[in-house]
């Protein structure tokens, strides 16, 4: 409503001033967001890398560690099943990422390239199922896995976690494929390429930002999942970090330092993924507008 009066070309405030104010505001807001996000992270790291002796020395939390120590990590690795939980996490997450991405690519391709009856209904149901809270799905899934005799195996955790990420993955891939003109494939077909060949040579390379986004999303869901895994697994040997860390935190020898070290271990893979693949993520969610 102020556009005509204050901002925009021809407003009361000169363009150069507007631009400067806008830049300053942008940086101030960015700075606030960064502080808000980084403070807890900093606390986590600071607590994780100090030995218990220095952590509360002087009765206060030491915010600038005088000496770095990896004691906390050593305790976790030597006295708790952290390593095995980590491996479980990797197995469950890796399989789920693969499954969810494959499902999304195949469904997305089919939904955009074939004339299926009831296509839009399928798509709507898929998206609607994403609206349902995982805990609502958890109990029926438990019953299904129980009947199938799949409880307490990696496969049930993998399938359950994939069920959470798949609807959105499929929807995202479906949108992404819509942005790849069918003419690319048609041109390949008229030159003799089979449907499979055209999909492999033309569509998949072009869809790469899309399926990498999907994989990142599926990774985030699977790595951080607690509910599904907690319900379908009850053998401690199969627990991933999320569920396993809860058990570790109950041990008497585990203090703040060990807890934060555990948090750091858990956050490390997502951090790596974000750091290396964020460009793809942005491209993927841009859906061809960029």
């Amino acid at each position: 409503m102020f556009e005509r009066v204050l901002g925009g070309p021809g407003g009361l405030i000169p363009n150069a001033v507007q631009k400067r104010v806008w830049n300053v505001a942008l940086y101030v807001i960015a700075l606030l967001v960064v502080i808000f996000v980084l403070t807890p992270l900093y606390l986590m790291i600071v607590v994780a890398v100090q030995s218990p002796e220095t952590l509360f020395s002087g009765g206060q939390l030491t915010l600038i560690p005088p000496k770095l120590s990896l004691d906390n990590f050593r305790t976790l690795i030597e006295q708790t099943p952290t390593v095995s939980y980590f491996v479980n996490s990797v197995i469950i997450t890796g399989s789920s990422v693969f499954l969810s991405t494959a499902l999304a690519v195949i469904s997305g391709y089919s939904l955009t390239r074939f004339d299926l009856t009831g296509k839009s209904i399928i798509a709507r149901i898929v998206l609607f199922s994403y609206m349902i809270s995982p805990i609502v799905l958890a109990i029926p899934l438990y019953v299904i896995f129980f009947r199938l005799g799949l409880l307490n195996q990696y496969i049930s955790a993998i399938l359950a976690v994939t069920a959470i990420s798949a609807p959105f993955s499929i929807w995202l891939m479906w949108q992404y494929f819509q942005n790849i003109p069918i003419a690319y494939e048609e041109s390949a077909w008229t030159r003799g390429a089979s449907r499979w060949r055209a999909a492999r040579d033309i569509v998949l390379p072009l869809a790469r930002p899309g399926y990498i986004s999907v994989a990142i999303f599926a990774f985030a869901v699977a790595w951080n999942d607690y509910t599904m895994v907690r319900i379908v697994l009850n053998d401690q040997a199969l627990y991933p970090l999320t569920v396993g860390s809860e058990l570790i935190f109950q041990e008497v020898f585990v203090g703040w330092g060990e807890q934060m070290s555990m948090m750091l271990i858990m956050s490390f893979p997502p951090f790596l993924v974000a750091a290396f693949l964020q460009n793809y993520l942005l491209q993927g969610f841009n859906l061809g507008h960029g």
Partner: protein
């Protein structure tokens, strides 16, 4: 070696929409045939049916003497150039041109050789190792052309390949298409909505309207002897003038003019008279009427005088070489000789005089 394409009763429906309605057409081998028509006339659909990308609802397609109706696009001996160019953005121009050869298992050396030869003939040899996104629109379309003909197709289908290019490039590529056609020894089927492209390049033109082919003839015949008002007004610039006339006995009256009708038209209530702007002359003729000048457009040697008829308020264009004594606002008399008019029924069908005088031009 080009092949003859025979379409026999091709109909294509999309749900309740009939895109192509019972088209039968024989496209002779090695000819340059253009499908032209306004948007929605079914020309692209017809091309896609020929390519195999669409399956006809009914009818048969024969290429050479082989019935290909049930064959996939992969198995038909043709190449296609698309309206949106559709170069693969993740491949270099060389790979784009090579891709079809690669699929057919041609060894790398030969592939490169043929791509380079194609690129040389299209004057894009130095662009071969660039990405398509680094090229201009015209160069991209040349690459698209190159990848279509590098495989030596028997039939080349072109779906509005120039609709996104500017006028200068269109002229260049128009020459390119004709040169390729001469060199390639292939049947060309070219789709466009631009009658100018159709007139300048084709051996034969099929004028389409709402899913049907109205006339299939050489450009000269289409221009001088249109079968309907639609063909007459669609082909030629400026567009053919059409005047509405009342029939009074054996005379059609319009404005200030009266036209002696042939016997074949005597049972019509109204007729429509088509006059090409090029045949109208300032000052009068066998049929003359008064018009008021609105705008005079110079075209270089000629001028197009846009006028409205004094009585009926109909737009009439006149092409003339001499405009020095004409001013917008003036009322002038224009005329045409009887043999240079077309008569149409009220619904646009051509009425021919019983004597066959209209074919020789």
């Amino acid at each position: 070696m080009g092949k003859t394409i025979t379409l026999d009763g091709i109909t294509k429906e999309f749900g309740s929409i009939v895109a192509v309605n019972d088209v039968s057409l024989t496209i002779p081998k090695n000819e340059f045939v253009t499908l032209v028509g306004p948007s929605g006339s079914g020309k692209t659909t017809l091309l896609r049916v020929i390519s195999g990308l669409e399956t006809p609802t009914s009818g048969r397609i024969t290429i050479g003497d082989k019935d290909v109706t049930d064959e996939t696009p992969q198995d038909r001996p043709l190449s296609m150039v698309f309206q949106n160019i559709a170069l693969y953005p993740h491949m270099s121009c060389r790979e784009n041109i090579n891709y079809g050869l690669k699929i057919h298992g041609v060894p790398t050396d030969e592939r490169n050789e043929r791509a380079e030869e194609a690129a040389r003939s299209l004057q894009i040899a130095d662009q071969l190792d660039k990405n398509p996104s680094e090229l201009s629109g015209g160069q991209q379309q040349r690459v698209a052309l190159g990848r279509a003909f590098v495989e030596d197709p028997e039939i080349l289908l072109l779906d509005e390949p120039m609709s996104d290019l500017d006028a200068k490039l269109k002229e260049e590529l128009r020459v390119e298409f004709q040169r390729l056609h001469r060199e390639l020894d292939a049947t060309f089927v070219y789709v466009t909505h631009d009658q100018n492209e159709a007139m300048t390049m084709s051996d034969k033109i099929a004028v389409m309207r709402s899913g049907s082919v109205e006339q299939f003839d050489t450009p000269e015949t289409i221009f001088h002897d249109p079968v309907s008002e639609h063909v007459a007004t669609f082909i030629g610039t400026p567009s053919t003038n059409v005047l509405d006339c009342e029939v009074d006995g054996d005379v059609a009256r319009t404005e200030s003019a009266a036209i002696q009708l042939p016997e074949t038209a005597s049972n019509e209530d109204r007729v429509r008279v088509g006059i090409r702007p090029q045949y109208l002359s300032v000052g009068g003729g066998e049929i003359a009427f008064d018009v008021a000048i609105d705008v005079i457009e110079p075209l270089g040697i000629d001028y197009v005088v846009h006028t409205t008829t004094v009585e009926g308020d109909k737009e009439v264009n006149v092409v003339t070489e001499e405009v020095s004594d004409l001013e917008p606002g003036d009322t002038i008399t224009v005329g045409v000789s009887l043999e240079n008019i077309y008569l149409f029924t009220a619904d646009g069908q051509r009425i021919r005089a019983p004597t066959a005088r209209q074919t020789e031009v």
